[in-house]
Amino acid sequence: MSDIQATPGKITVVALVENKPGVLNRVASLFRRRAFNVDSLTVGRTHRPYVSRMTIVVDSERADAHKIAANLSKLINVIDVQILTDTPHVSRDLALIKVRSDDAESRNELTEICERHPARIIDIGPEVAIVEMVGTEQAVAEFIEQVRPIGIVEMIRTGVVAMGRGTRIHDTEYEPVFKKNGVAEHMNVL
């Protein structure tokens, strides 16, 4: 499923960053300082040991794509920035939802809803079940609304991760001068 514009009024930004301590803090501090409203921010490893990748979804009311990209690029540890909003891309959000399952009715209902979505029950007990749902931000939101009447007990969404289709982000065989502080085994951007 490809979405040209994930959600109206939102800007989706991808940043490749050096995998070093403090980088997430620098990015978060920049967004706060420039009064860009962050909807979600995710960080994760890439196939390159010294490069991490962030997907940031920003409210477009106080920011435009150029502003965000230009400011992010100013951070020394940001290797490259790509704005995905208007280019074809795929995006995924993951939710873990703990739902009431203390009677047959609720369990049946949950199973039915899950069959209609890319969702599955990954844990079930006499009181509550945990469901995992993966999809676009929109799809996850819709799923949550269907589950809500059963009774949500706990919930977490990871925030959006996104990737351009067909295009390729400017990538480097980046290796830091000092490797000890940015090794593949652990994430260090915090």
Binding site: V17, E18, P21, G22, N25, R26, S29, R33, H66, K67, A70, N71, S73, K74, L75, I76, N77, V78, I79, D80, T172, Y174, V177, F178, K180, N181
Partner: protein, 568 residues
């Protein structure tokens, strides 16, 4: 060569061309201070009286020379005291490297004695910062820090070095260090062919063009290119506060200063222009006034090294991210001559009108006016001194009444408007330019924020001339209270010490000036003293800096100086 971290710091500074550093010792930086004795012949340390002074001095040194200024402080309170100076340098793109001590690596995060998260605290006020946790990385990090501070859009960089890293030993060979490798830090150079074409088209078509010259001109060393552009196409030049001196102010094409207290002629020209060519400036609210009515008829070209400045406050037709000197050199060979006689005449009329209205040339009934002091300072220093002003009315008057002919001779805190900057920055400037005459022009308020550096000036016997413009008020705030708060002078009348007695206590010669006919003598006196000297000019208490665009008003809607007999 096997060296300790502390020695590596100092070796690296020497390799980066540093000859003077401004600082204050303390526990966490003590190893580095201990190592200094080994390098005293090549590296002079100036002991300040407050770390804020150290960061302003490093900044003043950087502004006067274009080279990186260096300040040093201990962990915790020493480092936090640097912050105002770092923020000041950040706003005005001044290349400063700050080195701070930090508690030992194993104790980081334990609230150890004098521990502050300095990289965290300085993150928004530095271009970049580092916490070095391994002595192996120290030399390379310092090299990278200097590179970042002085390249691109310059700015302050802080390096936090834990005490155990300063004590640890490793092999040091500066020449064997890796070349700086920063994958995400791309330096910009020229414009694309397309952009050059677009710029030339707009310039050739324009009938009422104006160049807006900012700090970036001098930072990029594009002063000659600016003048060529202006002269070839006969384009009038308006300057920002930090753009003053980017082209000689006596040049017939220089209209003057723009913005809140700028020349009415510049502001009128900007409002009526059909083309703005903004060079190395950032459309600060102090120069644009109301953005909605700003230069409504013009198309706009904006060249800046920092892409995030383009289309930030003012949307432009041709945004060009690049180095000014390079871009102007691309434009100049294809630039056609133009005359713009009618437009230049119109501007000249405005200039005449403003010299009648705004310049303080009416009878002041024997009172000593701050504007006269500054204008006479200009006269008797042959307009050739480096002036370092503080913040307030005297700063605006300096910009109006002390025209500068050369770049990097008018130093002031523009973006942050930091009171307390002027005096310490003048000490830094004098260290950078020992052969130039340096005047700190400060208010009675701002001077009292950093006057502890009188002791530093005395100890170093540094030849700075301090001109205190004493109006017994926080003058600029009082001006706003008079104009916008019905003269409720809340917390602006100021007691000050007897500045001349204070100077005496520091062993600094001084003079008090209360009438205009003493000004020449005061300059002669200052020039005759080898070392610091303090002159107090006791001026009219309730004076207003005209013209003025009230905050947020339209740029052409200036409050002008009332003619004699007229009410304000």
């Amino acid at each position: 060569m096997r060296l300790k971290g502390s020695e590596i710091i100092l070796e690296c500074l020497i390799h980066e061309g540093v000859t003077v550093m401004f600082g204050y010792p303390g526990g966490a930086i003590l190893p580095t201070y201990d190592a200094m004795s080994k390098y005293m012949d090549r590296l002079h340390h100036v002991l300040v009286r407050h770390e804020q002074g150290a960061s302003h001095m490093a900044d003043g040194y950087a502004r006067a020379t274009g080279n990186v200024g260096v300040c040093i402080a201990t962990s915790g309170p020493g480092a936090t005291n640097l912050i105002t100076g770092l923020a000041t340098a950040m706003m005005d793109s001044s290349p400063v490297v700050a080195i701070t001590g930090q508690v030992a690596v194993p104790t980081i995060g334990t609230d150890a004695f004098q521990e502050t998260d300095v990289t965290g605290a300085t993150l928004p006020v530095t271009k970049h910062n580092y916490l070095v946790t391994d002595v192996e990385e120290l030399a390379y990090t310092i090299k990278e820090a200097f590179y970042i501070a002085r390249t691109g859009r310059p700015g302050p960089v802080l390096i936090d070095v834990p005490k155990d890293v300063q004590n640890a030993e490793t092999e040091f060979d500066y020449d064997a260090l890796e070349p700086v490798h920063l994958p995400g830090y791309r330096l910009l150079s020229g414009a694309s062919e397309d952009q050059i074409d677009q710029m030339l088209d707009l310039i050739h078509e324009a009938e009422r063009p104006v160049i807006l010259a900012g700090h970036g001109i001098t930072m990029s060393g594009a002063n000659a290119e600016l003048q060529d552009l202006a002269e070839l196409a006969q384009i009038p030049v308006a300057q920002t506060l930090l753009g003053k001196g980017s082209m000689p102010q006596s040049h017939p094409l220089v209209v003057g200063w723009m913005g809140m207290h700028g020349d009415a002629a510049s502001n009128n020209a900007i409002q009526e222009a059909d083309l703005l060519i903004a060079l190395g400036m950032r459309f600060d609210d102090r120069v644009t006034g109301n953005l909605k009515s700003y230069s409504p008829h013009s198309r706009k070209i904006h060249i800046d090294i920092d892409p995030s400045e383009l289309n930030k406050n003012v949307v432009v037709d041709v945004p060009v991210a690049g180095d000014l000197k390079t871009v102007l050199r691309q434009v100049l060979p294809r630039l056609e001559r133009r005359t713009h006689a009618e437009w230049l005449n119109r501007i000249r009329d405005w200039q005449e009108d403003s010299s009648e209205r705004d310049i303080l040339n009416h009878d002041t009934q024997g009172k000593l006016m701050a504007a006269q002091v500054i204008n006479d300072l200009w006269r008797y220093t042959d307009g050739n001194a480096i002036t370092v002003s503080d913040v307030g009315q005297h700063q605006m008057l300096e910009a109006q009444y002390y025209p500068h002919q050369r770049p990097s001779t008018m130093l002031t805190s523009g973006g942050l408007g930091t009171m307390g900057f002027g005096f310490p920055a003048s000490i830094g400037a004098k260290f950078g330019k020992p052969d130039e005459e340096v005047w700190a022009i400060v208010g009675d308020g701002g001077f009292q924020m950093t006057l502890c550096e009188l002791a530093t000036a005395r100890q170093e016997n540094i030849n700075v001339n301090i001109a205190i413009i004493n109006n017994s008020f926080l003058g600029m705030v009082r001006q706003w209270q008079e104009l916008f708060y019905e003269r409720r002078y809340q917390s602006t009348p100021m007691f000050s010490p007897d500045f001349c007695k204070l100077a005496e206590a520091y062993g600094i010669p001084s003079m008090r000036v209360t009438s205009r006919d003493q000004i020449q003598e005061s300059v002669d006196f200052a020039r005759s003293v080898d070392g610091p000297v303090l002159i107090e000019y006791v001026v009219e208490k309730e004076d207003i800096v005209y013209p003025m665009v009230p905050s947020g008003a339209d740029l052409h809607d200036m409050k002008r100086r009332p003619k004699p007999g007229e009410l304000a």
